[in-house]
Amino acid sequence: MDFVESDSLAQFRTAAREWADEHVDPGWVELEHATGTHHNPDLHALLGRQGLLGAGWPAAYGGTDVDPGLALAVFQEIGARGLRMDGWVTTEMVARTILAVATEEARQAIVPAALRGEVVIVLGYTEPGSGSDVAAARMRAVRDGDEWVVNGSKMFTSTAHVATHVFLLARTNTEVAKHRGLTLFLARLDAPGVEVQPVHTLGGQRTNATFYSDVRVPDAMRIGDVDGGWGVMRVALVHERGTAPAPGGPTLVQRVAAWARHAPGDDGGVLFDDPAVQEELARLAVDDEVSRLLALKVRWVASTGGMPGIEGSMAKLWSSEAEQRRGAVLTDLLGEQALLRVEHGTGRGSGGAPLDGAVEWAYRKAPVSTIYGGTSEVQREIVAERRLGLPRSRPAG
């Protein structure tokens, strides 16, 4: 075995750091916290212009000759500086799905523009009445000549307020079993009849409820077969879970440990002198290493041409449950210091909180980790059925 992920990544580290020093505005992190929008349009456009988004993609669809190793190193460096690129994550996933299943017209219309950073696509699967039961979607799409007319609403349409397109799961057939009457469409968010309303969350992220009233989508922007949406989603899912590399930079546990080596402890020494503090940090470090390895396995399976469905579920299940343990353990470890909250955008609370309030924030955002992108219950079901061969126990719905 060989656990070195990429021999070439190291060589790009310096270049990536220099790139970020030149292009990443230090104020963007504060902006991201203040707005709760995990997407920076300026950064995104820049990455597109410089060909970093298109690195490694086929030239026929806008791929560039930027080395994918450099692009990966830059993305990791961006992550290490505290910025997230949720808009690119969903755009990339849908673009890959489009390449895999859509018409040539849709490929040419969307993928090159996405790689140039001009198209930003968000997901429109979940509805107010459907969570884990995604196939229960009630949004309707009815054919009208060369177009489809879409009506309904979507929930948790994150990033929609700064995106150009939404990947909509809609019901096109009510006469068949619920999984078999679904179709996917790529709709423009500036089309007449689309409304985006903000939804604010515990972790400070802004998401959206989106509403669709007689929204027209050309048939060319149907992604995959009519009533074949369930299969398309399975393709997309493989691109969703865990194949993205981990962001670079120190983990929260490493940051707390470094802080604890200087923070005052109880008997005149430092917090890290406390053996129980050491034990907790060590346990969390093991959790992190397991998360890292399970994610590594997903990428390894994908790199060998496999479909890392089960591995993706395991990686997601473990790391999200570990994130919740971490939030609970670290708040207890910091005691009253973990109460201190930093209100980004207002400046309130800055300065006093250890690690700029990272632990308090970690606790607030932890709960969503076991919900979004498939709940822990859904992941366990996948592992039980597909890895362990246990029978399906839940109702068909």
Binding site: S130, T331, G335, G352, Y363, P367, I371, Y372
Partner: protein, 341 residues
């Protein structure tokens, strides 16, 4: 053995439950988040004599037992009422315990003064972040071997620190809280402060117990209502079993809170240890219940629109005011096991 509330306590519960249901609605709770304190609610509580209900009658208080205060704290916790009753009660207890504090007790009863308790002794003139202090007029604190009632010169403010639990947190330092009244000195001061901390633990445990009950109720109501795969999600065995586990721990927490109050009221030698146990276990149980309830709400539980997030934050934030629980566990071990060997 009698594990039922008395008739008087049942009446008290009904009365305060009504008060908090009316005065600590989710809207009011949200509106008070920035300051961590609802002054209008506090005025209503003053009118009902709640802040001084644990003070002896001869000092103008209600002479209530700790068991009675627990009944009220549970109802306040159930509505995550934006007032720091445990801190105010524990501070009033210290003021009432010293002739030098009796004047302030009267002012608390009259609604002129809102007291809070600094749980950790001052170090270099600072008690660190103290829950309730941003709304308080008086903070009772231990400074070396002096128990003092600190207040601010007129015109100064205690800058509220934004915090996880919207707990009216503020740094308390003698530079700002520069006016002091000495309540006790020497061993008596240290003992009184420790005793008030123990009372605070019982009352905070009670507030967490009320919080837990409502967090469980929210979760159960949601899983019965919400459908997935054609059935209510309450149908799923893993949902049922996780809720059954937290409900079971919850029965234990409720009993432990009442036992700790009973031990304090009867002078039981285990009172201090039981206060720590009730505090630790009520905190843990409230946290696990709120986390389970939020999780079963799915994505909605994570939005600010739903109430369960109010409970999730306070379940962890309230007990953190005392500091890291490892210290509490060690102190409990000493209480329990380090006596005569």
């Amino acid at each position: 053995m009698d594990l039922a509330l008395t008739g008087d306590q049942l009446a008290l519960r009904e009365s305060v439950a009504g008060l908090f249901a009316e005065q600590a609605t989710p809207e009011r709770v949200r509106a008070a988040e920035a300051r961590g304190h609802d002054a209008a609610l506090w005025r209503v509580l003053v009118q009902s004599g709640v802040p001084t209900m644990g003070v002896p009658e001869e000092l103008g208080g209600g002479g209530a037992t700790v068991s009675d205060l627990v009944v009220v704290a549970i109802e306040a916790g159930r509505r995550v009422a934006p007032v720091d009753l445990p801190g105010a009660w524990a501070a009033a207890h210290l003021l009432a315990g010293s002739p030098a504090g009796h004047g302030l007790v009267g002012a608390v009863g009259a609604g002129e003064v809102l007291p809070a308790l600094a749980l950790r002794p001052l170090r270099n003139g600072s008690a660190g972040p103290v829950a309730g202090a941003a709304a308080a007029d008086v903070v009772v604190a231990l400074d070396g071997d002096e128990l003092v009632a600190l207040s601010r010169p007129e015109g100064t403010v205690a800058e509220p620190l934004p915090d996880l639990a919207a707990a009216a947190l503020a740094e308390v330092s003698t530079a700002v809280w520069s006016q002091r009244r000495v309540l006790a000195t020497g061993a008596a001061a240290v003992r009184a402060h420790a005793d008030a901390g123990s009372l605070w633990r019982v009352l905070t445990a009670a507030a967490l117990e009320g919080l837990r009950q409502e967090a469980l109720r929210l979760g159960v109501a949601y899983v019965l209502d919400r459908h997935a795969f054609g059935v209510p999600i309450a149908w799923f065995q893993t949902v049922q079993h996780r809720l059954a586990d937290v409900a079971t721990a919850g029965d234990g927490a409720e009993l432990l809170v009442h036992e700790a109050a009973w031990a304090r009221d009867t002078g039981d030698p285990r009172a201090a240890a039981l206060a720590r146990m009730a505090f630790l276990f009520a905190a843990r149980t409230a946290q696990e219940t709120a986390a389970a309830s939020l999780h079963f709400h799915g994505g909605y539980g994570y939005t600010l629109e739903y109430d369960v997030q109010l409970y999730y934050r306070r379940a962890r934030g309230w007990p953190l005011a005392l500091g890291a629980p490892r210290h509490e566990l060690r102190a409990l071990a000493t209480d329990l096991f380090a006596g005569a060997a």
